[in-house]
């Protein structure tokens, strides 16, 4: 991956393969519609349906970010490569979803009010046919209980979206948070 497009990213397996150029507007529109659909499932709490949008080999990571000086001229700093808020595969995401479904996950019972606001969707081809590298900005609203206060988390998502017979599937998501110290009491939600 070139420095220009984000050498600040932790090494990944499966890798976020080097983008081979922007996708045409039609593909971008299809991907945007797919991401909006995905966000709708998360905002509606339809977690089982959301799991269906993931590949079996998904890698889903939210690295810790720290306040850090510039090194090697990269100005996006502090994204950790060995420390995470979430480091998930298909099975562990299933565990989180199943947990919420037990009805005894007090942190989500009653449910938090979650809203995904997506913008800046950029779709690029990769070296692999049928895999698209997608970056999008996310503003996530988190509200609980009867208080007027809420928390906002801002992030950039680096996704790898694979075309399958069943349609697009998320194969990798790396969430680059803009927060270092996290303002929410916990992370019960998906980015």
């Amino acid at each position: 991956m070139s420095a220009r497009t984000g050498s600040f990213l932790p090494p990944a397996d499966p890798p976020l393969v080097a983008p081979a150029g922007p996708a045409d507007p039609e593909v971008t529109a299809r991907i945007a519609a797919w991401l909006y659909h995905e966000a709708e499932l998360l905002d509606d709490g339809r977690h089982d349906d959301w799991l269906d949008l993931l590949t079996d080999d998904i890698l889903y990571q939210v690295p810790i970010r720290i306040h850090k000086e510039v090194t090697d001229s990269v100005r996006v700093t502090g994204v950790q490569t060995n420390a995470f808020h979430l480091d998930e595969d298909r099975t562990s995401l299933q565990m989180r979803v199943d947990r919420i479904a037990t009805g005894f996950a007090w942190a989500e019972e009653p449910p938090s009010r979650i809203r995904h606001h997506l913008s800046n969707i950029r779709v690029r081809h990769t070296d692999h046919d049928g895999e698209l590298a997608v970056r999008s900005n996310l503003l996530l609203y988190h509200g609980r209980w009867d208080r007027p206060e809420y928390e906002l988390l801002s992030a950039e998502r680096h996704d790898l979206i694979r075309e399958t017979d069943g349609g697009y599937r998320l194969a990798r998501r790396l969430v680059v948070l803009d927060a270092t110290t996290i303002p929410t009491l916990n992370i019960t939600f998906f980015f």
Binding site: I66, T91, I100, W106, A107, R147, I182, N186
Partner: protein
């Protein structure tokens, strides 16, 4: 902000609240006001956090000369650095010229810290070495030797754990820790090279009093079945309602420290020694200081501890996910750093026995991340519940209500227990919590 009245904290009459606490505790009760009150918080800042040995970092976070991390005691920013001579120091991050912060990253490596305001430069020992155009600006008047960064009065380590104390007159670290060291040894000396911290800590804010978190880890086994019911449903904890009762609860009288060592409930086949692999058990047999410590460790499946005031440790048998066959235990250390009445910033670290394989370390980090820390499927629910305790404790009426620590008041002491401290042969007791608050009241009054 997560609770409407948290962080404001009505200012009650501190001595009145403490007097009430001292009157109630022998009967196993405390006034709720201690969990969200500005006066109590300010007294704690001075008496508890201004005078205690507070956990700051682990030596493995700063292995090389010049390595540093930024850490806090309440709101004091401290540079924890391994200096050019290899010595671990705590330096106040406050330029001696006009008070600017000289270290501006959370972690890194530096031989010098140069202040961005006027350029005074300090060596990583804290010594002031450079003052721009010193001759013309100050002539001969500047006493550079006395203008180094202010050192944390006491910094010391125990088994690689770095503690600092803002009070130069406090007893030394070894005496402060006292007999909890026997239990810290079990957690940190299972292999010859000890333990290591992997990666930066998670940092997040919870509207909860630091004591509520600390008391939970020092002796609240009782909450497991209800708070963590979702994980019981997923088969991540046994269904037996008495499951968290088995084992030993130990406290160090007069110190506030305590530990829980939870064994296998009768009729279950949880593997011994937390489910660590056989080679780890073999290493521990010679690495732990005594045969008694090994024997205790062998029977342990879950261990928790709070070191007074605000370091908590959790080391349970676990699995990376609910479908994983077998056990991959994990360990997390956390500091509940108070930042206001009823508010903490949590620092949560993943810690692992250093001699384990890379494969084990990777899986153990997953066991940790998916159960504890900010997104942990267990800890999510602790945080949710704790915030509402702080919220109630800060209300007009709620602050005058009591909280209850009367469990196990009749329970006998286990005279056979091989370790130091006062042990009870079951975990459904509030003895450790009463001891924790006993110490708290003593220091606060």
């Amino acid at each position: 902000m997560q609770g409407s009245n948290v962080g404001q904290g009505v200012r009650g009459e501190v001595d009145e609240v403490l007097g009430e606490a001292a009157r109630l505790l022998p009967g196993g009760e405390m006034p709720a006001a201690v969990f969200n009150d500005r006066g109590i918080f300010e007294r704690e800042r001075e008496r508890i956090f201004g005078r205690s040995w507070v956990y700051l970092a682990h030596e493995s976070e700063i292995p090389d000369r010049g390595d540093y991390v930024l850490r806090y005691i309440v709101d004091d920013p401290l540079i924890i650095v391994r200096d050019e001579d290899g010595e671990v120091r705590g330096l106040h991050n406050q330029c001696q010229h006009r008070g600017m912060q000289v270290c501006r990253s959370e972690a890194g490596n530096a031989s010098n810290f140069r202040c961005p305001y006027h350029g005074w430069t300090y060596r990583n020992t804290g010594a002031l070495t450079g003052v721009p155009v010193e001759k013309q600006a100050f002539g001969e008047t500047l006493d550079k030797a006395s203008l180094g960064l202010v050192q944390v009065p006491q910094v010391d380590t125990y088994n690689g754990m770095i503690f600092g104390c803002l009070d130069p007159d406090q007893v030394g670290l070894a005496e402060w820790l006292g007999d909890i060291r026997w239990y810290l040894d079990i957690l940190t000396m299972r292999c010859p090279s000890g333990v290591e911290v992997v990666g930066a800590p998670q940092r997040w804010r919870i509207d909860v009093d630091w004591k509520i978190a600390g008391e939970n880890f020092v002796g609240d086994s009782y909450h497991t079945l209800m708070t963590h019911r979702s994980m019981v449903e997923l088969g991540q904890a046994p269904r037996d309602p008495k499951y968290a009762m088995y084992g030993e609860q130990v406290h160090i009288p007069g110190r506030g420290h305590g530990a829980m060592l939870i064994g296998a409930p009768p009729g279950t086949d949880l593997p011994p020694f937390w489910g660590y692999p056989q080679d780890a058990i073999d290493r521990a047999r010679t690495s732990l200081p005594s045969a008694e410590q090994f024997d205790v460790a062998y029977e342990t499946r879950i261990m928790l501890s709070t070191v007074f005031p605000n370091l908590s440790i959790h080391n349970p048998i676990r699995r990376p996910d609910h479908r994983y066959e077998g056990s991959i235990p994990m360990m997390t250390w956390r500091v509940w750093n108070p930042i206001g009445p009823g508010q903490v910033e949590v620092f949560s670290w993943f810690v692992v026995d250093k001699d384990m394989s890379e494969e084990f370390k990777r899986l153990s980090s997953l066991s940790y991340l998916r159960s504890f820390g900010i997104s942990g499927t267990f800890e999510q629910d602790d945080a949710e519940i704790w915030t509402h305790i702080a919220r109630n404790a800060g209300t007009f009426s709620g602050r005058n209500h009591r909280v209850n620590y009367q469990m196990g008041m009749e329970l006998e002491v286990d005279e056979q227990w091989p370790g130091p401290g006062v042990a009870q042969p079951a975990n459904f007791t509030d003895a450790n919590l009463r001891s924790f608050y006993d110490r708290w009241i003593e220091v606060m009054r």
